[in-house]
């Protein structure tokens, strides 16, 4: 890990096109400004990690509970239209 010290208003440049600037420091909180091309996705780490953990759990979870869930959805949806198949078999 690269560790740099920066003062308020100073920036770092990553990969020529990403600029990270320290805007404000207030006690434990640092306000950061990021300028990056639109195709770069930027998330708070905790949200990303939460979604990663959810995905992993969902991908290998016990499917028995899901059958019951499917049944409930099915009975609810019988009044409404069923979604079209996304990909044909």
């Amino acid at each position: 890990m690269l560790v740099l010290s920066r003062q308020i208003g100073e920036s770092i440049i990553i990969d020529d096109d990403i600029k990270v600037q320290v805007l404000q420091v207030n006690g434990d909180t640092v306000k950061i400004g990021i300028e990056a091309p639109r195709k770069k996705t930027i998330y708070r780490e905790e949200l990303y990690l939460e979604i990663q953990a959810e995905n992993k759990h969902a991908g290998s979870a016990d499917t028995e509970d899901l059958k019951d869930f499917s049944e409930k959805l099915k009975s609810k949806k019988s009044e409404k239209t069923t979604p079209a198949e996304v990909v044909e078999d």
Binding site: R38, K39, T41, Y43, L47, Y48, E50, I51, Q52, A53, E54, N55, K56, H57, A58, G59, S60, A61, D62, T63, E64, D65, L66, K67, F69, S70, K72, L73, K74, S75, K76, K77, T82, P83, E85, V86, V87, E88, D89
Partner: protein, 148 residues
């Protein structure tokens, strides 16, 4: 051409039409570039995105409108480009359901899977809307008694 794969749901059979390309890996399944669209009557209306990893992880997907009345996913331009989306008609937005032992599954409304059905490409997006839950608990409405 028909193929077989061992998955957490057991062995499944699929063909070329079921193969979904993942141009951007799904968080938690780094470097996996391929998935399989799978559906089975026993889980209907839940569908599956089988990840082409060693154990065949299976993500249960459902139409978010099955659990909420109002849902909007703004698909970022870079995802439109990445999935080669040309028209709204070819896009499906599905949410991952998360089965929980002894409890009702939760639904991830915050990070749906966007699928271009025509090009067979999919990606997971994270929506900016902080009111959308990663673990939305859905409870079926109580049966309403018919009023005569």
């Amino acid at each position: 051409m028909s193929y077989k794969k061992k998955t957490v749901l057991g062995e499944i059979e699929y063909n070329d039409n079921n193969i979904i390309e993942l141009p951007k890996s799904i968080p938690g399944f780094d470097d996996v570039e391929k998935a399989i669209w799978f559906s089975s009557p026993e889980f209907d209306p839940v569908k599956w995105l089988i990840i082409d990893d060693e154990k065949g992880s299976a993500l249960p997907l459902l139409d978010p409108f099955m659990v909420v009345d109002d849902y909007a996913a703004d698909i970022p331009d870079q995802i439109v480009e990445l999935l080669e989306i040309k028209s709204q008609d070819e896009v499906a937005v599905m949410c991952i359901a998360n089965p929980r032992k002894g409890e009702a599954p939760t639904v991830n409304l915050r990070a749906p899977i966007v699928i271009n059905a025509k090009e067979r490409k999919a990606a997971q997006i994270i929506l900016d809307d902080e009111s959308l839950s990663v673990r939305y608990e859905w409870e079926p409405e109580e049966e309403k008694a018919e009023v005569c």
